[in-house]
């Protein structure tokens, strides 16, 4: 991509928790944790800023979060509410540019190159976006502005919550180089540790590392990471319509330390599957193929997938299918450093024309799902369980 671009990264602040606090005044100003329950095996989906003060973060086991903060209020995700808010945000962003890429439910890239004559300077656009999100959605967000996606995202990470950061191309060395190297996209916990051991502490250290050491430390991936460290990134922001033609959706997470515990992996997968399902809902997609991606500590990565008889957006079906693909024995033996849930072979709702014989039954099933969800959000996960889940607990 040539020429000077203006890319904005808009990131909601503690999105799920913020929506909960917006919906329920009693939660405002308090440590709120979305996802999991104190005694359960789930993981934290989002922690409010009040909870983050206790060191609580996303993907942390709920039990651990509870130990860190006994006053924390655990709430179950109200995904329809998040989904709705995300839709509003998307609509707001589309007022400023047609090139809006929602990269997840709570963050987006905008390419506002050349919109200055219509909307004014980039910083003013950012302030207007923040104001509109505050007025119309009732939550705060943080914006990063830079010549590319990488720097824009780095920028929004610098000044959270409710912040605005501009990183100009000629300020990369002064603004980005001093940052810890794990702030860089693509540097996960394991890479970070390896870099630290070798004295590479900051992004600048990585950017200026000589090619031979790079290769030695990071293998073929080194070149790419070093380029990123220098702030180079030419990925473009697809037009909104273009982005909606995605044919797969996935979420993955790198574990802080390798896990040998299939149950821990399972709870992470619940969390990942949830994120995938939300995105499917947003785009009104159904998935025909569900898969997993799993990386062992030796970096060997496997993918497995399974094609379903009918496209689905059902959380339980996607989770169960993904779980059935996990090689539990290998996890116990070798450990896991990264796990991902992937859906592909997507079918849009509008393509789904086959009518159902038992439509009434399906409606009843949906009602049942809703009732279960309501019970759980009032009384916790253990109040009601699928019999299949009970059986697996006995095993």
């Amino acid at each position: 991509m040539s020429g000077h671009r203006v890319i904005m990264h808009v990131d909601m602040d503690a999105f799920f928790a913020a929506i909960e606090q917006r919906n329920n005044p009693h939660l405002r100003g308090k440590p709120v944790i979305v996802g999991g329950s104190p005694g359960g095996r789930g993981v934290v989906s989002t922690a409010s800023y009040e909870a983050r003060k206790f060191g609580i973060h996303s993907a942390m086991p709920a039990g651990e979060a509870y130990r860190r903060c006994r006053e924390a209020i655990f709430v179950h995700g109200d995904f329809s509410s998040y989904h709705h808010a995300s839709r509003l945000i998307e609509e707001i962003l589309l007022r400023f540019s047609p090139a809006v890429e929602m990269i997840s439910i709570d963050e987006a890239f905008l390419d506002i190159t050349g919109t200055e004559r219509v909307h004014g300077p980039a910083e003013q656009v950012a302030l207007r976006v923040k104001q509109a999100v505050q007025d119309e959605v009732g939550i705060t967000c943080t914006v990063g502005i830079a010549p590319n996606k990488l720097l824009a995202k780095l920028g929004s990470g610098l000044n959270k919550p409710d912040g605005l950061t501009v990183i100009e191309a000629d300020r990369v060395e002064s603004m980005v180089y001093p940052l810890p190297v794990d702030k860089l996209w693509g540097v996960g916990p394991v890479t970070y540790e390896r870099l630290l051991k070798n004295g590479v502490k900051t992004i600048g250290d990585l950017a200026t590392l000589n090619p031979a050491s790079l290769k030695l430390l990071l293998g073929d991936h080194g070149q790419t990471l070093a380029a990123r460290a220098r702030g180079e990134d030419d990925r473009h922001v697809p037009d909104h319509d273009e982005a909606h033609f995605e044919k797969s959706m996935s979420h993955e997470t790198t574990l802080g330390e390798n896990s040998h515990d299939p149950e821990h992996i399972h709870s992470l997968m619940c969390w990942l599957a949830e994120k995938v399902v939300i995105r499917l809902y947003r785009g009104e997609w159904l998935a025909r193929t569900v898969g997993i991606r799993l990386r062992y500590p030796d970096f060997k990565t496997i993918t497995r997938d399974k094609t379903l008889p009918k496209p689905t957006v059902d959380y339980a079906e996607i989770l169960n299918t993904a779980s059935s693909l996990v090689p539990n024995q290998q996890i116990v033996n070798k450990g896991v450093r990264l796990i991902g849930v992937r859906t592909s072979n997507l079918v849009h709702v509008s393509e789904l024309a086959q009518m159902e014989l038992f439509a009434d039954e399906r409606r009843r099933k949906e009602q049942l799902d809703r009732s279960i969800h309501n019970l759980r959000s009032k009384f916790g996960d253990k109040i009601i369980k699928h019999a299949g889940g009970l059986k697996s607990e006995e095993d």
């Binding site: 008889p309 079918v347 509008s350 393509e351 009518m355």
Partner: protein, 369 residues
Amino acid sequence: MKFSLTTDKIQSALSAVMSAVPTKSTLPILGNILMEADGKLLKLSATDLEISITTSLETKITKKGSVAIPAKTFADIINALPQTEIEIESTNNRIEMRFGTGDYKISGMSADEFPKLPEYDSKKEIRIPANVVRSLIAKTSYSVSTDETRPALNGILWQTNGERMRMVATDGHRLSRAEADNTVLQGLHGDVIVPPRAFNLISKLASESINEVGVVFGDSTLVFICGNNTISTRIIEGPYPNTEQVIPKNNDKNLIVPKTLLMETLRRVSILSNSLTRQVKFSISKNTLELSATNVDLGGEAMEKLPCQYDSDDLEIGYNAQYILDILKQLDGDEVRFALSSSTAAAVVTAVDDGADYLCLVMPLRLAD
């Protein structure tokens, strides 16, 4: 264990039991065939824990015994042999096969490690006509659902209690219900849901020469006896959805079409249908049925008209062509009747000649405006 027999005999016995050997399994023992020799009978068994097959044959046994033998390797060897006499002996779970000048040895496992096969009381065996069972299976098994989230629909509902014996299968988009006279089973046992694999094996093993199939109802298993083969299968837990309530009673728009003509035309037109939905549009007007399809990816359009008997309001209905073809393949007679009500309701498809014995439902595809 030591016995001898001709290769054709063991080849045919093996081909029956191999159907129950799972292609991949977490339990290595299931990749084996249990071989038992006692008295005059040699028994071969395999199981995937859902279905087990045992086949017995009379042969010359000089030493009794049993062993579990790796199914695939054993079958590969046996099937590669010419017609000859073969002697098989196992000592300490090592199996030796001798024929002509050949001598092959493979290692097996102890027969004790093989899962216990379901037992049944042969006094409870009831014999039913094989051709009836075969026909009901063929007419329903294609509608069985493969959706694992609804286990009951993964089987064929077999109703044996009433005056008519009935099999029903549905995947939620279509339904097939076939029935026949039921004199022997009436009043003996309630409904069971049977995995289609077990039924398909019966169709395969109850060859034309077999007139009757034995059946033994257990609490959680069903056993079928077809000649020398015993097939036992897990019964799928219900409940099965109430299918009677989805069968429309008031579909009064009757479309009657020559079956073979419809089948051939539908096959042609569907070549240019959407590869995902397989949608073919039925545009029905007085005595004319127009079939049409489009495939945007191919830039394809197809249309054919065929004569029919129809005397109601014009209708446009979309169907998955495969669903209709599956039904037409199983229908008897020269003419097929579609009893319709609207473009969004199930069609009742029957043969014009014997409407009562075989009924199929198929839900339409929603036509894009």
